[in-house]
Every structure is written in C-alpha cells, then in structure tokens.
C-alpha cells in the first residue's frame, strides 16, 4: 500500500513539470513555425527558393515540371520597398552593333531586381535616341548620363598616349552624379555596383550585395585567363589575398564585376575616383578601392567566395561582310 502511494505521489510530482516544460518549449517554437508557413505560401517575391514544386497532375510522366506560380506577379519592375537598400548599377556603354541587344538583355535581368536604380552612361557627345527609347520602354528606375571619352584617350588606335581602360570617364561621371545627388547625411541606404553591359549576372548576386557595409567581394568567372578569379578567405571570414594568376599582388586583384561599395562610403570620400592616367592594366579597380577601404575591411559574399554568381562574358563582334561599302540594309531600321 505505501509503495503504491509513493508511486502515485511521484507521478503526481513529475507530471506537471513535464507538462510545464513541453508547454514552455512550444511557446518559443510556434511563432517561428507560423512564419515558415507564411513564407511557403508567398511563392516568389524575395526568396526564390520557396517555390512549391508541384508535379502536374494530368501528366503521368514527370517530364514536365510545373512550378506553382500562382503568386507570381508579372509586374516589371518589382514594387519599390522603403526599407531595402537601393542598388545603384553603373553601366558605361558605347555605340556598336550589339549595343541594343546587350542593353536589352541586361535590362531583362535588372527588371527582376527590387529597388534597383540603373545609371547608364553613354560614351557619346549627346544622349542617343536608341538608348533613351530603350530605357523608357523598360520601365526601370534609371538615370541617363553621357560623357564622351576624348579621342586621344580612346583605347584603340592610339599607341602614343597611354591607354585608359574603357568606361573610366563614364564611371567617374556616374560617381560624381551620385555625390551631387545624395548627401552624406541622408538616411538613404544604398550600394553601388559597376556592371558592364556584356557580362552576365545572376539574380542572387544582387541580393548578396545588398547587405554591403563597406566593400563586399565575390568570385568572377572567365577573368584573368581562368575559370574564375576569387578572393582568398580565411576561416575567420576575412579576405587575406587573391586567387589569381595575373598579378595577384595588386592591392585589389579583382575585376570590376567582383565588388560593390556602400553608397555612404562613396559619399564620404569625395576624392575617390577611378584613376585616369598612368594606370597599369588590371590596376583600375585598385585605383578606386585603395582610397576607400583596406583588405581587412572587405566583406566576402557568395558563401565565403565559393560560388560563382557573375560571369565576365564577352560578345563576339558580328561579321558584317555582306553589308558592303554602301550598306545593304536600310539604315533607318534600328538594331
């Protein structure tokens, strides 16, 4: 008899505590669970990985993968958010036969990125109608600038003057525009990225760079004669070197497409520009970055610089042999 009573007593004591512990534990966990369900239902928007993959029921073979996109909105560009930092994409461009094609597909990419501001700088005497019309039709948030590179500075054809890398004057103009437009004290958060018009950018890249506090870096494919060049990142998550073959001892051995700068940092250092003259090949990026940041300040992105999210593609120059001297095709048709 006493034994049973002891047991009963023991159970009566332990039971409430176990209940208490389970209830306490659940209390902390349920709010998180609720949000996860919410994310699932929203489909696209910011996190692209939360698609509900659904095998199309009517098709027995699993050849067709129909991704449930009931929430997908074909609004281009995505609506502006008040809290996402703006990405200012600076693209220098110049007139050539593939220009419209390049800008078209770059625009198609940028139209997916929320809070994006495209600063397109033409290397021309005045803004061309081709680019103006293209920009208007895309519906993107843009700024259209232009500045002509003086003839003796142009890359090709002049061996007397030291070359300056193409796009320098245009990029500097865009940086100056940013400094004139945004004051250092404003609460506007932003990130500045130099995107050439012939590269290929994944959408993930823009989300990686959005959180840049000073200067963030990541690998770039097809530069320096390698599959990809990348910063060297140690176990503490700090950049300590550069994994390149071409002059890895440059202060910043990185391609233009491999870094992004926080807007405030650019505004706070008004003397920082890309150097025009006397810059060795491959040192362009260093000429700007060394004014802004030191190696230890760099923030590695793309999973500690182990994923390739941008490709330095180059488009072949089209062979226009059949145009002949006078031009076979109607020059009024814009290409």
């Amino acid at each position: 008899m006493p034994k049973r009573r002891d047991i009963v007593a023991f159970v009566l004591i332990v039971l409430p505590w176990t209940l208490l512990i389970t209830v306490w534990h659940q209390n902390n966990v349920t709010p998180l669970l609720a949000t996860r369900k919410d994310d699932r239902r929203l489909g696209r928007s910011n996190s692209r990985n939360t698609f509900a993959l659904k095998e199309s029921c009517s098709h027995q073979n699993h050849d067709i993968v129909e991704v449930e996109r009931t929430e997908y909105v074909y609004s281009r560009p995505p609506p502006w958010s008040d809290i996402l930092p703006t990405i200012h994409v600076i693209t220098p461009t110049y007139s050539r036969s593939v220009q419209k094609a390049e800008l078209t597909r770059l625009a198609n990419t940028l139209l997916h990125v929320p809070n994006l501001h495209w600063i397109l700088v033409e290397d021309s005497q005045r803004r061309t109608t081709l680019v103006s019309n293209l920009l208007q039709e895309t519906g993107l948030n843009y700024t259209h600038l232009n500045v002509e590179t003086p003839r003796n500075y142009k890359v090709r054809g002049d061996t007397k003057d030291p070359r300056i890398p193409r796009g320098t004057i245009q990029r500097n103009l865009a940086v100056r525009w940013l400094r004139e437009t945004f004051s250092e004290n404003s609460s506007q958060t932003g990130v500045v990225y130099f995107a050439d018009d012939d590269n290929t950018y994944s959408l993930e890249l823009f989300e990686e760079m959005r959180s840049t506090k000073k200067v963030s870096v990541w690998p770039v494919a097809f530069v320096g004669g390698l599959r990809y060049e990348s910063p060297k990142v140690n176990t503490l998550g700090k950049v300590y070197g550069w994994k390149t073959v071409f002059d890895p001892h440059r202060p910043f051995a990185i391609d233009m497409a491999g870094f992004a700068v926080n807007l405030r940092l650019i505004l706070s250092k008004p003397q920082a520009f890309f150097k025009l003259r006397g810059v060795k090949g491959g040192y362009q990026e260093s000429s700007l970055l060394k004014e802004l940041v030191t190696l230890s300040d760099l923030e590695p992105k793309a999973a500690n610089c182990t994923k390739v999210l941008v490709w330095h593609t180059r488009t072949e120059k089209p062979v226009l042999v059949n145009e002949g001297k006078k031009g076979f095709t109607d020059s009024n048709v814009e290409i």
Partner: protein, 333 residues
C-alpha cells in the same frame, strides 16, 4: 519515529505537488497572453518583425496592382513552347542563366531544354529547378561524326539538329497522350541559348496561325535579315547570303503554330541539308511563302538578335592544370 518521518515526507510531497500545480496553471495562463517583450527584444527580432511587416505590405501592394491592371488573360492564352538545344561548354551556365531571366518575364511560356549529352547534367537540372520557369528537360546526344570538333569553324556542321527534333518528338508525343482542345493550342519557337530576345517578340508570335516571321538582327553577315512585306504578305527575303533558298531565314526568325506541328508529324530538321538550308528543310513541308504571317510591324522592327558569345580565354587555367594546380572543380562555373 518512522511515522513522523513519513508524515514529514508526506507534507513535502504535498507542498511540492501544490507548487508544481500552481506553476503549471501560471504557465497555462501566460500562454494566451501577449508577451511583455521588452526584456527579450533582441535587435534581430525587431528587424525580423519589421521586415515581415514590410513583406506583407508589399504583397498587398502587388496584389492590388495586379487587380487594377488589365484583366487576367484568359486561360486559353496560347502557350509558347520554346525549344532550346544546349551543350556543355564554359559559358553554358551563363547563357542559360540570362536566357531564363528573359523568359521569366513571359507568361504562358514552356521551356523545352534539350541537352546534347548522353544524360541529363546536374548543372542544367539545378538551373532549371531554380529558374522558376515551367520546363521540360530532355537530352539527345549528337552522333560523333556529326559533332563539331574543338577547332572546327561553327558553320562546318549543322548544330542542334538532333536536339530540336527531339524537342519536337517529345512535344508531339506529349500532346498525343493528352488530347483536349486547349492542349493543341500553342506556338513553337526555336531559341538558341546565345541569342538575345526582347520581350516583345514573344507577344508578337503568340498569335501565330501557321508560321509567322520577322527580322533577325546581326545575322547573315548583315545588320539584320528580314522578309520583305508588300500588301501584308511576304514577297521575298532581304538577305545577303544565298537568297534563293526556299526560306532564307535564321532559326530565330520564325515560329510555328503547334497545330501545324502536330498536323505534320513527319516534319523535322534535316541534318543532311546543305549549309544554310536547315530552316528550309523544316519549313518546306509546312507552309508556302505567301502563307507566312509577317510580324514586328510588317517586318520593319528588329526584336531578336543573333548574338554570339566569345569563347573565354583559358590560357592561364590550362597552364595551371598542367601543373596540377587548376581551379577547384567543385565550384560550378
């Protein structure tokens, strides 16, 4: 002595039990109440809740903007079936990435990707899954003697023939297996993975009844090639190279209605056709020149460009690989 101890123990137990019960009741009461978050409020939680609020607001905004937009296109909007042959090379992932970014803007698009490979590669499989598009992933290897070798010029042998035919075969089989009015509606377009497509071209081709045509930029050694339209009909073709071909057009310059493809189950691309006659080999059996439907403002606008991507220089990579120091293969490029 024993009873006294027992009694004391009993009191302890009872006390203990009462405390536990009170504690449980207290916790259960707290469950429904709003938490006084001031002590536990970490800045992270604050940002999360703020972002969540922003997210819901944006969702609402999107939903509202969609509602006020022009009414939803009817479900019988013809689907555009885009057949893209692709093959493994350094720039493949980049090309497919930017192509998918363009397609993602086009509603009712079904991407049929056919790899020139004996089996599906993980690179393409993963890319397709992440793309968010409706897709079908196929593969069909090109026979060795028909395949371009490393240093062959690109025009030496026709490319993508087996893959495009495989795409057609799958499409025909799939539609035959699932008959039904809506399923037979659609447009078939052959899109190579290195060209550039504007978004307007897809809306132009959606209304194809038989075969529609339009200009293509940067092809045939010219700024653009195009059909010449008079009185709303195609009378000849403006091209600088072999204009006597039955259909002197590029693959990117025409689209075929699904009905026509299904009604002619034998028509496909002929790999044996002489250079430049690939498109003609397919279209000859389907349509005559005066049946062609001109799009893009009577073929006066260029909405698609035959761009080609340079092969990246890998001299340093090759040198490193010879030393056994090549870049990490695990990193996908």
């Amino acid at each position: 002595m024993a009873t006294r101890m027992k009694l004391k123990l009993k009191t302890v137990f009872v006390l203990y039990f009462m405390v536990s019960l009170l504690g449980l009741v207290y916790a259960l009461m707290q469950l429904g109440q709003r938490c006084d978050c001031s002590e536990h409020d970490l800045p992270k939680d604050r940002t999360i809740s703020r972002l969540r609020g922003e997210l819901h607001r944006l969702q609402e905004q999107m939903r509202n903007s969609e509602a006020t937009k022009k009414p939803q296109k009817p479900i019988t909007n013809p689907t555009i079936f885009v057949i893209t042959p692709t093959y493994a090379r350094l720039v493949q992932k980049a090309e497919l990435t930017r192509l998918s970014q363009t397609f993602l803007h086009v509603p009712q698009l079904h991407w049929i990707v056919v790899e020139d490979s004996p089996h599906k590669t993980p690179l393409v499989s993963d890319l397709l899954v992440k793309s968010g598009l409706t897709y079908t992933h196929l593969h069909m290897p090109t026979a060795k003697d028909r395949k371009l070798q490393e240093n062959d010029p690109s025009w030496l042998k026709p490319r993508g023939v087996e893959q495009r035919n495989e795409g057609l075969r799958w499409l025909r089989e799939d539609r035959r297996a699932h008959p039904g009015g809506d399923n037979q509606q659609g447009v078939v377009y052959f899109a190579d993975d290195d060209n550039t497509y504007s978004l307007q071209i897809f809306e132009e081709m959606r209304s194809t009844e038989r075969v529609s045509v339009w200009p293509v930029g940067l092809v045939g050694g010219m700024k653009y090639e195009r059909p010449v339209v008079e009185g709303g009909k195609v009378v000849r073709f403006h091209t600088g190279w072999r204009p006597s071909r039955p259909f002197p057009m590029d693959m990117a310059g025409f689209a075929v209605s699904l009905k026509l493809v299904l009604a002619n189950p034998e028509s496909c691309f002929d790999g044996e056709a002489p250079m430049g006659f690939l498109e003609s080999s397919f279209l000859q059996g389907l349509v005559t020149m005066d049946e062609l439907e001109p799009k893009a403002d009577n073929c006066s606008k260029v909405l698609v460009w035959h761009t080609r991507t340079e092969k990246p220089k890998m001299k340093r990579e090759e040198a490193l690989q010879a030393q056994g120091l090549g870049s990490d293969r695990a990193v996908e490029v």
